[in-house]
Subunit: 404 residues, 2 copies
Amino acid sequence: MSQTIIVLGGDGFCGWPTSLYFSQAGYEVVIVDNLSRRKIDIELECASLTPIQPLGRRLSAWKEVSGKAITFVNLDVAVQYHKLLTLIRQYKPLAVVHFAEQRAAPYSMKSSFHKRYTVSNNINATHNILAAIAESGEDVHLVHLGTMGVYGYGTSGLAIPEGYLNVKIETGEGNMKDLEILYPANPGSVYHMTKTQDALMFYYYNKNDAIRVTDLHQGIVWGTNTEQTMLDERLINRFDYDGDYGTVLNRFLMQAAVGHPLTVHGTGGQTRAFIHIRDTVKCIRLAVEHPPARGDRVQIFNQATETYQVRDLATLVATLTGAEVRYYINPRKEDAENTLRVRNDKFLELGLEPLTLEDGLLEEVYTIARKYGERCDPDKIICTSRWSDLIPEDLQGAAVPPTD
Amino acid sequence: MSQTIIVLGGDGFCGWPTSLYFSQAGYEVVIVDNLSRRKIDIELECASLTPIQPLGRRLSAWKEVSGKAITFVNLDVAVQYHKLLTLIRQYKPLAVVHFAEQRAAPYSMKSSFHKRYTVSNNINATHNILAAIAESGEDVHLVHLGTMGVYGYGTSGLAIPEGYLNVKIETGEGNMKDLEILYPANPGSVYHMTKTQDALMFYYYNKNDAIRVTDLHQGIVWGTNTEQTMLDERLINRFDYDGDYGTVLNRFLMQAAVGHPLTVHGTGGQTRAFIHIRDTVKCIRLAVEHPPARGDRVQIFNQATETYQVRDLATLVATLTGAEVRYYINPRKEDAENTLRVRNDKFLELGLEPLTLEDGLLEEVYTIARKYGERCDPDKIICTSRWSDLIPEDLQGAAVPPTD
C-alpha cells in the first residue's frame, strides 16, 4: 500500500502544518500548491503577522530539522487538469488531502470579481480532483476540508449531526417513511455556497465511480503553530489578522495587541464552532487512517471541538489582555443571535483529546500577538466586505451601542 | 415596466422557439448566445436532422415574416461577465431566461474533458448571471431551465412535489418538528449534478440579494416546431437524433425512419417525464408573467405534462411506424425500473392545456422524421458514452434479450 499523501494547498494555513505532520509521521508527502494565498496577500496589501518563509526555504529547513524531504509541485488544481491526473497516476497516493480552495467568506463577498473567482476556483478544483481520480482508475481516498458553515448557522436549536439528517416524509393517508438525507444546505456566503456545491460533487462521484471520500466539516481554526512548525522559526505558520482572512479570534488578539477596542459585529450573539490547528492536523490524520470502505457512501465528520458566542470570545480576550469591547453594525446577513450544538462523536471516538480556548489562548497572546505585534498594519483589521447592497453603505463599520 | 426579455442560449433547441414566441407576443427580445451548440455539432461530426439556418438568416426571415426585429449579441455568458453586466444595465430587462447551459447528460459523460466543460460552463454561466443581476441593482426576474433529473429517478414511489419537500425531524424525547426543504438532490449524471448545484446558487442569491428566481424542472422535451417556427422553413427548429443530444424519443423516430430496430437500454422500465416544445414555450411565458414577489423564495415549477416508461414509448413508436424493438445493455448507472409521478399543478392552474404524445407523435413521424430522414447519419444514433468504468467496455452496446 502506497504511503504517499498528496496535500493540495500544502503551502496554506492548514495545509502546511498538515504536510509537516504527515511527513513527521513517516508518510511521503507531496505538496501541490499554486501559491495563490501568497498572491492574495499582495492583492490585499497585507501579510501574515508571522514571518512565513518562501516555500523553498520552508522545505529546506524541514529537511535540515527532520531529515525528511517533501516534494513540491507548483500547479493550479482548478486549471491544470492533465498535470494533476499525471501526478495521481505517478504517485498512486493513499490519500489526496484537498485544501485547494479560496477559504475566506469576507474575501468571497468583496466584489463580483471575488465572488466569481471563488466559485470558479473552488468548483473547478474540486471537480478536477474527482474527475482525475475517476479517470486514473486508482483507488484514492479523497479527504476534503469543508466547513461547519454548510449547515447554516442559527437554523435550528438541534444538535447538528455529522453530515446526514434522518427525516420522515408523509406518503399519504397518514403513513410515514424514513429517509436519510444530506443535511439541508443553508450557506451564509458565496464561499460557503461553494462548499455546499462540493458536497453534491462528492455525493455524485461517490455514487457513480465509487470514489472514497471523507468530508470534514470544520469549525473556525485558531492557534498558529503545531509541534512541527515550532521546531524552527523558518517553519512558522501563517497568522492572518486582516478583515478578509483573519478569523474573529485573530482579529481580537491583534486589536488587543495594538491597543484597539475589540470590534464585535452586531450583538456578538453569533455562535461559532472552533478547533485548534494542532487538533486539525490530528483530525486529518485520523481521517486518512480511517477511510470509508470502497463502495461506502461519503463519510462526513464534524471537525470542531467547542462552541463560543462571539461576545464571550471577546470577553475571554479582554480578560487576558485588558482590551475593551466595542459593538459595530454587522456586514453579514445572518441572525443576530443563534445557538449551535455540534455533534463531534466520531473524532472523539477515534481518540481526539481537544485543546480548549480556555487552556490555549494565553499562549497565542504571548507567542504570536505580542511577539510579532509590530508587524501588524492596524488599518487592515476591520472587515470591509458588505454581504449585500441591501445593507446600507453608510452603516458600514458604524459603531453601535451594545444591545445587552 | 420594461418589456424586454433577454434569452440566454436563444439560438438553441428551446431558446429559439422561446425567443420567437415572446417576440410574437409583443415583447422586445434580445438573444444572447455563443453558438456553442452549433460548434458541438462540428465536434461530434453530426448535425440537426432539420436544416437549421445560421442565426442571422433566421433573424432576417423572422423580420420578413413577422415584421419584428430580434437583437442578437454573441457572447459567452460563462466567461464574458462584464459584457453581460453591461447588457443588463442597458436593457433593464423584465426577465432573463437562462438556457445557456450544456444540456446533454450523455455528452457530459463522454470523457473528463466533457465533464469538466459541462461543470465549468454551467456553473460559471449561472453564477455570472446571478452576480451580474446583483451587481446591476436591477430587479430582474431570472427564469431558469432546470430538469426533472435533479430529483433523481426511481428514488421514491411518491408523487414528486414542486421543488420543496415537507419533512419532519425528531427533536428528541419523541417531539417532531416540521421543516420544508429543497427536494434532496440525487443527480444521475455530471450534467444533472450541475443543475443541482445551480439550485444552491439560486437559493443563496435569492436569500442574500433578494433576486427573484423561477426554476423550471423540465421533463424531456419532444416535438420540433412551434406555431412560429412553422411560419417559414428558414425558421425551423433543431432536431437532434444522435446518441449524445438526441432524446430517447427522437432516436426511436430516426431508427424507425431509417429501418433500424428501436434500441431500448436495459429493460426499458425507466420512467421519464415529457413535455412538447409548444408547451415548453407556453410554460416559459407563464413563468415570466407570474414572477414571485420581491423577497419571496425561489419559485419552482415542474414543467412536464406526462410520464412514460421507455418500453411503452418504444411500443408507441413501433405501432406508428412498424419498427421492431431491441434491448441493449444500459450505459447509465440507474435503476432498471422506476415509477415516476410528477406534480405539475402550478402550470395547470395557470391554464396550460398539454399536448400529449398520443395526439402529437404522428405529426413528428411525418413532418420531421420521414421528411428529413435522408439527412440522417445512422452511425450517430447509438449512445457511446459510458457512465463509469465500472460498466465493462465490452458490454457496451451489446444486445440483450428482453426481460419481460
